[in-house]
């Protein structure tokens, strides 16, 4: 297999926590918020990876780290084999062209006073990628048409309010494509759109991955959105990937109890198939107070005596399929040192 476009190794991101009044008075130190707490994965050209989790799982922070907008507090992101950590500011700027982001809310992510032509040209201008004039116009038109807004001429002079939600999201995508990136980080790209047009945007992203070889990290809380589009799915819980693997395996035979719970609550659009949702008890996950041992154990319906004690590594449970749960430990066999093996790649010693 070829060298991955993105390789993330043991990524950590801590934010300074906030202290309440009582804590300040009693001089208790603030609990740091461990938003990302040891995430590893890699992504190949043309691959779509679904990064799934609840709010507070660290999925969006992970996306932001891939863009180099934040400096991780630990671990490393490699893009095209180059490490972000050791990069100078100038190199980082150049590298930013390679990773672009698509946002959740197409109504908010476009400046209401800017015309489509300027919105799409902005990244080119910021990076001085092409001289202004004919060359820039060509690139803008190319990006718009790749994003499915053809003929581009019909859209160049428009203001965002003149466009529908789907068209706006396409403008956001066109702006991201203008720099011809190798990676797109799509943060909930369709959750604000109408059901009837979601498929259009998702199909467009899948096509971009297929035909242009762009690698896509699709961040979402909705497993059903990525089911048909991602080759692989990574499920995050409290800053860690708890299960990762090929979509069919993760959805078909989920090994982590959290994945199973998550899957059980996705509303199935079929009234004949009544679901039995696995209801998780306990407090909602709080990244400033990550439980000991397995971070999921207080809510896990299958937790046993060892779970509060041992932080499970990602065990290999199938080809490219890993789950961080002590229940799979016995059936697991991981091949440490195999770089191309994602599950092993993500393994950390407990």
């Amino acid at each position: 297999m070829a060298e991955p476009v993105i390789r993330v190794r043991d990524l950590h991101m801590q934010f300074a926590g906030r202290r309440g009044l009582v804590d300040s008075v009693r001089r208790r130190p603030a609990q740091p918020i461990r938003a990302v707490d040891g995430v590893s994965f890699s992504l190949h050209q043309g691959e779509v990876l679904g990064l799934v989790g609840e709010s507070g799982s660290g999925k969006t922070t992970t996306g932001t780290l891939l863009l180099g907008l934040l400096r991780p507090t630990g671990g490393d992101v490699e893009i095209s084999g180059k490490s972000l950590e050791r990069m100078s500011a100038a190199d980082l700027r150049r590298l930013r062209r390679e990773v672009q982001m698509i946002f959740q809310d197409p109504y908010e992510s476009l400046n209401p006073r800017m015309r489509v032509a300027d919105i799409v040209a902005e990244p080119l201008r910021v990076h001085g990628a092409v001289p202004r004039g004919a060359q820039e116009r060509e690139r803008v038109a190319e990006a718009l048409e790749q994003a499915g807004l053809a003929p581009a001429g019909a859209y160049l002079g428009r203001l965002p309010f003149e466009l529908s939600g789907g068209q706006r999201q396409r403008v956001v995508i066109a702006a991201a494509l203008a720099l011809r990136p190798r990676v797109l980080v799509a943060d909930e790209p369709v959750s604000m759109l109408d059901v009837s047009i979601r498929a259009d945007i998702l199909n467009l992203l899948a096509d971009l991955a297929e035909t242009q070889g762009i690698a896509i990290v699709m961040i979402t809380h909705d497993l059903s959105t990525v089911a048909a589009y991602a080759q692989r799915i990574a499920v995050m819980y409290l800053g860690r990937i708890v299960e990762i693997g090929p979509t069919a395996d993760v959805l078909g035979s989920p090994r982590h109890p959290y994945t199973q719970a998550l899957l059980s609550v996705v509303p199935v659009p079929d009234p004949t198939q009544q679901q039995v949702p696995v209801i998780l008890t306990g407090e909602t996950p709080d990244p400033s107070a990550i439980p000991s041992g397995c971070r999921f154990h207080p809510r896990c319906p299958q937790a046993f005596d060892r779970c509060p004690l041992v932080d499970p590594p990602l065990y290999t449970v199938g080809p490219q399929h890993g789950a961080a749960c002590l229940l799979v430990e016995s059936s697991a066999h991981y091949e440490a040192g195999d770089d191309e093996h994602d599950a092993a790649d993500a393994h950390r010693s407990p």
């Binding site: 604000m192 498929a199 996705v266 199935v268 079929d270």
Partner: protein, 659 residues
């Protein structure tokens, strides 16, 4: 100063997608036009003073006693002043100084205020904080006193006066620009620009300044009026530039040189009125500009502001009057608890009323959960709100009936309507999670609602019932005695449901009840709603865009498109055998986690806008099965076997069913 932090009104449907051009919006403000005319006149006089003025007030004359304080005459229209000079001419020349000082000082204030505000707003942390402290310092020191001191020290030349007024007058602009910058900075498109790799300078210049500029200019117009006043004040107390004539100076001379004792009102009144004229003109223009330029941008309904006013309206406050006596209901197989027929709603717009809901009819039985599904702008939320007559301003129910247990809600007088709302029919919003009273415990709020409705249960009884109800929605007795801010989003939504159930309503409406919640909680809330509906024998309406939700919790489904109900059927029927082409396409666009191999199909085109609603079938422009008749005629809802569909293609089938 009037910091323009308007709260955008909650938007259910945006009937006007196209915001007015700022210039047109400005001209719609009559008072603004009046102000502009007043200022324009002042400017004209100031510029044309040498041509218009009958005398040159700067020419040195030797007045005789007979020239001083002469009343208005044909020769001197506004009389003469203490030096025997023509008041009208002085007034005209005075306009030059007053306006010059006003505008240049305001310009200086704008430059300083805008730079400080932008930087303080954009650069957080120490620099921004320090700049704001400086601003606060300038804000609290008394401008006028400091001005007097400084002018007294540096000398009252015109330049000094302009500089002093400008340098001391920037704080209001700085504060406004800072707060605007802070809010614009948080917007997604600024983050997007940062993600692209744009520098701070680029973001300030390209994204923040253009959005802040209009309000900044509007504010500057108001600063002008302050500057004009301040110049007049300085001049009036004798700190004006003695070499020039300004209105304040005229007042000063008139007062100090015996105009009052001479009864020479003509030397006092005109400069005073001139100051009022300019200040009033600028204030009117400034206010109108602020109104016109304040960008009220269209937002998506999924992130609409919490509909707080609706909730306030719902809860009223005073004890409720007796609910109207409604006939008791026999059980099962009975008439519906809620019958909606021919409901037609329109919204006002600049181009006339726009129809948002067109002839919608459906029944709801006790214990039944009806899903109202459709894309944004299809009228589902408008329909739901109209059931309680809670339409936002501009919305009108044109026709139709909403009959709750034999009583037409739309015909009820206001006081009886209030009794029906909340007690017989209540609503749970997606955004109203923050609508719980923050200073009362959740349990006491629920108990209060119970006692409002049924005073006879007493305090103890209400408390007990509140506790039971909260337990039923999954809030333990311990947690029930906590305040709402300690609750998570899901808990708050549970509390809202308990509140809505407090009066044992017959019908409960849930508008996108889980949209803002986390996935793990969504399923629980929906199950809870459906269970409670059956348990309490309520009719439940769930408004949603999520067909997965519909499939899992609803008994019947009403599909809306372009303001019409296009199909209604039992949930199994609808998913197994959709009749309307729209329903069919909608179903094929829904992702199913159980079939990851199936690629989704989107419906080509976009939903129609209210102002461009097709004359025939609303779905015709997107329908793959469209034929001629669809373009000219709107299909009625044909009755089929225990279901309805509004499509000409089912007409033959409907005839067969009828016969």
């Amino acid at each position: 100063m009037t910091a323009a932090t308007h709260v955008a009104p909650p938007e259910v449907v945006a009937p006007l997608a196209v915001p007015l051009h700022p210039a047109r919006a400005f001209f719609r403000q009559r008072l603004g036009l009046v102000g502009a005319a007043m200022l324009g006149f002042a400017f004209f006089v100031a510029i044309a003073a040498p041509l218009l003025a009958p005398y040159d007030p700067y020419a040195s004359v030797r007045p005789t006693i007979l020239d001083i304080y002469q009343p208005p005459s044909a020769e001197h229209l506004l009389g003469t002043d203490d030096g025997g000079k023509d008041v009208l001419s002085s007034l005209m020349y005075g306009a030059r100084v007053s306006l010059l000082v006003g505008f240049t000082a305001a310009f200086i204030a704008l430059l300083i205020g805008a730079s400080v505000g932008l930087v303080a707003g954009y650069v957080a942390g120490r620099v921004g904080g320090a700049l704001m402290r400086v601003t606060d310092f300038f804000l609290v020191i008394p401008d006028l006193a400091l001005m007097i001191v400084i002018v007294a020290i540096v000398g009252p030349s015109l330049t000094n006066i302009i500089l002093v007024i400008g340098v001391l007058g920037w704080t209001s602009t700085a504060r406004l620009v800072r707060s605007q910058t802070l809010s614009v900075k948080e917007r997604k498109f600024v983050f997007r620009a940062r993600a692209v790799g744009a520098s701070g300078l680029h973001i300030m210049r390209r994204h923040i300044l253009p959005l802040v500029l209009p309000l900044m200019l509007a504010n500057t117009v108001l600063v002008i009026s302050v500057a004009v006043l301040e110049e007049s004040t300085l001049a009036f107390i004798g700190l004006g530039d003695p070499t020039v004539i300004s209105w304040g100076q005229m007042l000063n001379f008139a007062f100090t040189r015996g105009a009052v004792s001479a009864g020479a009102w003509w030397a006092l009144l005109p400069p005073g009125l001139a100051i009022v004229w300019v200040v009033l003109g600028t204030t009117l223009v400034g206010t109108a500009l602020e109104e016109a330029l304040n960008p009220r941008l269209r937002r998506h309904h999924l992130e609409a502001e919490p509909r707080l006013h609706l909730l306030e309206e719902l809860r009223g406050g005073e004890p409720l009057p007796e609910p109207p006596s409604l006939a008791p209901q026999p059980a099962e197989g009975s008439p519906p608890v809620l019958r909606v027929s021919g409901l037609t709603i329109s919204y006002d717009s600049a181009g006339g009323p726009l129809r948002a809901v067109d002839n919608v009819s459906f029944d709801l039985h006790r214990g039944e959960t009806l899903g109202l599904v459709g894309e944004s702008g299809c009228g589902k939320t408008t329909t739901a709100l109209a059931l309680l007559r809670l339409l936002p301003p501009g919305g009108t129910i044109e026709r139709g009936q909403v009959v709750l247990d034999g009583v037409d809600i739309l015909a009820l007088p206001q006081n009886e309507l209030r009794a029906v709302r909340w007690t017989r029919m209540s609503i749970v919003f997606q955004g109203a999670m923050n609508a719980l009273n923050p200073v009362k415990t959740v349990a006491s709020q629920v108990a209060e609602a119970i006692r409002l409705h049924e005073p006879e249960v007493g305090r103890r009884g209400a408390d007990d019932r509140a506790r039971q109800l909260l337990e039923r929605v999954g809030i333990s007795a311990r947690r029930a005695n906590h305040h709402p801010h300690t609750y998570s989003g899901g808990m708050r939504q549970r509390a809202m449901i308990a509140l809505a159930l407090a009066c044992r309503p017959d019908v409960i409406i849930a508008d996108e009840p889980t949209t803002a919640l986390d996935v793990m909680i969504q399923a629980q809330i929906l199950e809870l709603l459906a269970d409670l509906g059956r348990e309490f024998g309520m009719g439940t309406i769930i408004v949603t865009h999520d067909l997965g939700v519909i499939a899992q919790v609803c008994d019947r489904v009403a599909v809306m498109y372009g303001g019409s109900l296009v199909e209604e059927a039992g949930v199994q029927q609808l998913f197994a055998d959709p009749q309307h082409p729209y329903t069919r396409l909608l179903l094929s666009s829904v992702p199913d986690v159980g079939h990851p191999d199936r690629r989704l199909r989107a419906i080509p085109g976009t939903p129609p806008r209210l102002e461009q609603m097709p004359a025939g079938c609303q779905f015709a422009p997107r329908c793959p099965l469209v034929f001629e008749r669809c373009w000219t005629e709107r299909p009625p809802a044909y009755n089929l076997d225990r279901r309805r569909a509004a499509c000409f293609l089912v007409e033959p089938q409907a005839r067969a069913t009828d016969g």
